[in-house]
């Protein structure tokens, strides 16, 4: 750790994307100096430009492995790809947020600033090479998400969502911190490289304190990705938070959590794989089962999508449990595919909803095809993709994740995955049936897909189909997602 302590340009390049995103957030806050009309109109533009600009340092570093700030952060293929996924999530979020927040009377510049803060925290989680950085970036993203969940502060459901998320999230952060403290006690250092070295030099004498710490860290991070048995917050928070925030959270927080989990467990605890793989196997299996089975009973589309996102977290955990390079590439591919299909589904939810978060029961989707064929067709694509049916991106994503698991001889997990995917077809298909085969309610309001929301819908639908038909390009890119060994 004897790098020069004076930060050079090279250090800043490692954290370039998150710095640019955070600077854009601060610019939005400074824009408050201008009259409200201007700052509100400028905020989404500043946010979008910031996210686009964050691609510049990503392309500059490419997949080269560089560490910065005395080993606190690292950039490698995995980090750059995750940051790209997060930047795209941010851009699509802005795409459907502008319409939504105007409709719900939540149009404030702080919304975009908080979204950008959350994204910078998420990007930093993908780059963290030290447990304190994992914790701090988790806190930035968590605080921003707690506030965003409660953004519709006049609605009790939103306040409830924010409070529940905050209380349970703080509890999970406490677990994470305790785990970090125990790992420090066991390894003598909190840098991921240092922990890996300490484990390697300990040899066969596995330090139980270190294992306990690893377990607690898994609990803290598992909460964020909604793994069972830490998923209890997900349905209530997803249902109560404003829909655009939920959409953003469901992809972004998961991507960040998985990035940190992958990096911590494959780098620091890589040598003790045999100790944590069975636990991860069990968590993945439980998550897939619980997410899919409980989703069947849901009648509100937001809750259904919440349980569906728990189930998808389970599929991604299968990739992580495989603990090989194929698993990591599959994880990145899955997150990219999931980003498009999930954000697309939520865009349709926003489109079909009415002011005051009304219109979120599945019954209100009756005959959506007759009200707006484009939206219904797009939703059909997303539902098929989420269920994992070809020729969509969702199918290819599950295929890659399951093949990685098979490479690691986890046949049981793949069987559970296949069975639960079958179960999921039921509740996804139900939405499609309701949209295409039923007549619309007589008092149903017309839905227009003009403007940015329509563009977002088109982009996500196109991407979902593209990834299903021509997954090769993204798959090759995902193969470059190597997690740098310290």
């Amino acid at each position: 750790m004897n790098h020069s302590f004076v930060p050079k340009a090279a250090d800043m390049l490692v954290v370039g994307p998150e710095t640019i995103v955070a600077a854009a957030a601060m610019l939005i806050l400074l824009a408050e100096l201008m009259p409200a009309r201007i700052s509100k109109a400028a905020a989404p533009w500043i946010a979008a430009l910031g996210l686009l600009a964050s691609f510049i340092p990503m392309t500059t570093t490419g997949i080269s492995v560089r560490t910065g700030f005395s080993g606190m952060v690292v950039t490698d293929g995995f980090a750059v790809l995750m940051k790209a996924v997060l930047a795209v999530t941010g851009l699509l979020t802005i795409g459907f947020s502008t319409h939504y927040i105007k409709r719900e009377d939540l149009d404030r510049a702080e919304y975009y600033a908080l979204v950008l803060f959350a994204i910078s925290g998420m990007m930093l989680m993908a780059s963290s090479a030290n447990l304190i950085m994992v914790f701090l970036s988790l806190e930035i993203l968590s605080i921003s998400l707690y506030v965003l969940s409660g953004f519709a502060r006049t609605q009790p459901r939103s306040q409830e969502a924010s409070l529940k998320y905050f209380l349970l999230g703080s509890f999970a952060s406490a677990f994470l911190l305790y785990g970090i403290a125990l790992v420090y006690g066991g390894a003598g250092t909190i840098s991921l490289a240092g922990i890996a070295n300490a484990i390697a030099s300990e040899g066969a004498a596995r330090n139980p304190v270190l294992l306990a710490g690893a377990g607690l860290i898994a609990v803290g991070l598992g909460f964020k990705v909604a793994a069972v048995p830490f998923q209890m917050w997900t349905p209530d928070v997803y249902e109560g938070a404003p829909s655009s925030v939920t959409a953003f959270m469901s992809v972004g927080a998961k991507a960040a959590g998985f990035a940190a989990l992958a990096r911590v467990f494959l780098t620091a605890f890589g040598d003790i794989k045999v100790d944590w793989m069975p636990a991860l196997w069990a968590v993945a299996a439980l998550t897939m089962i619980v997410g899919n089975v409980v989703a069947v009973a849901q009648t509100d589309i937001k809750r259904m999508l919440a349980y569906s996102s728990i189930a998808h977290a389970g599929y991604i955990l299968v990739g992580l449990a495989a603990a090989n390079q194929a698993g990591v590439s599959a994880l990145v591919f899955y997150l990219a595919a999931y980003l498009f299909m999930n954000l697309g589904a939520w865009a349709v939810v926003i489109l079909a909803g009415r002011r005051g978060e009304a219109g979120t029961e599945i019954d209100s989707y009756n005959g959506l095809f007759w009200r707006n064929p484009g939206a219904a067709a797009a939703m059909g694509v997303f539902m098929f993709a989420l269920a994992g049916l070809p020729p969509t991106g969702g199918f290819m994503a599950k295929f890659y994740v399951f093949s990685a698991a098979l490479q690691a001889n986890m046949v049981g997990l793949v069987v559970i995955g296949a069975l639960t995917s079958l179960v999921s077809v039921y509740y996804y298909a139900r939405v499609t049936v309701v949209m295409f085969m039923r007549d619309p309610e007589p008092d149903a309001a017309p839905i227009s897909t003009r403007g940015l929301l329509g563009v977002t819908l088109a982009v996500t639908a196109a991407a979902t189909i593209y990834l299903g038909v021509l997954p090769g390009q993204l798959f090759q890119l995902a193969g470059l997602a190597q997690i740098a060994r310290p």
């Binding site: 750790m1 302590f5 930060p7 954290v15 955070a22 601060m26 806050l29 409200a36 910065g68 700030f69 005395s70 080993g71 606190m72 952060v73 404030r108 702080e110 600033a113 908080l114 803060f117 910078s120 930093l124 030290n130 304190i132 950085m133 701090l136 970036s137 806190e139 930035i140 605080i143 921003s144 707690y146 506030v147 409660g150 953004f151 502060r153 924010s162 330090n207 139980p208 304190v209 294992l211 306990a212």
Partner: protein, 171 residues
């Protein structure tokens, strides 16, 4: 039993008993005040670990600012100060054994190893504040700057959540 050992036992007892009282007392204001007492206990433990800067910061921030914030938040709530709030739910009899099991597991893990004792902790001639400051500004520079981002995000969050709507404001 050395003086340090006695001091540790007393401080640990204060901290743990106050913490237990926080989660069992039915009056919320007293619960918050016992939390302040447990913070003081932790500050004492920091002094035993030779981290005097952290002890001072703990008292300044936790006892001084955070307890005050919690009391303000309590006073903001209707009718909560005289209410008798039950601290347990119907899951208590499931949660208690699980928490005790986790405690037993952790203690078992800790007991499996022997820990080398630093032979002369009392001989620390210089305070730890200087090395802490050096560490914060050199190797741990990025977490230091990140802390200010967290504070900024919290600032924006506080305003978003708690800002008063002025009548007639279009903001």
């Amino acid at each position: 039993m050395t003086g340090q050992g006695v001091a540790f036992a007393v401080l640990a007892a204060i901290t743990i008993i106050s913490a237990l009282l926080v989660v069992t007392i039915k009056n919320i204001v007293r619960s918050a005040l016992f939390l302040a007492l447990s913070f003081v206990g932790v500050a004492g433990l920091y002094i035993l670990l030779n981290a005097e800067f952290l002890a001072a910061v703990q008292v300044l921030i936790y006892v001084g600012a955070i307890t005050v914030l919690m009391l303000f938040a309590i006073m903001l709530t209707q009718q909560i100060m005289s209410a008798k709030i039950s601290q347990t739910t119907e899951w208590f009899w499931l949660a208690l054994p699980m928490a005790l099991a986790m405690l037993a597991t952790l203690i078992f893990f800790f007991a499996m190893r022997t820990y080398p004792v630093n032979p002369a902790p009392d001989a620390l001639a210089v305070g730890t504040t200087m090395p802490l400051a050096e560490a914060l500004l050199k190797p741990y520079l990025l977490p230091f700057e990140l802390a200010s981002f967290i504070l900024l995000a919290a600032l924006v969050g506080a305003i978003v959540i708690a800002r008063e709507e002025k009548p007639g404001a279009t903001d």
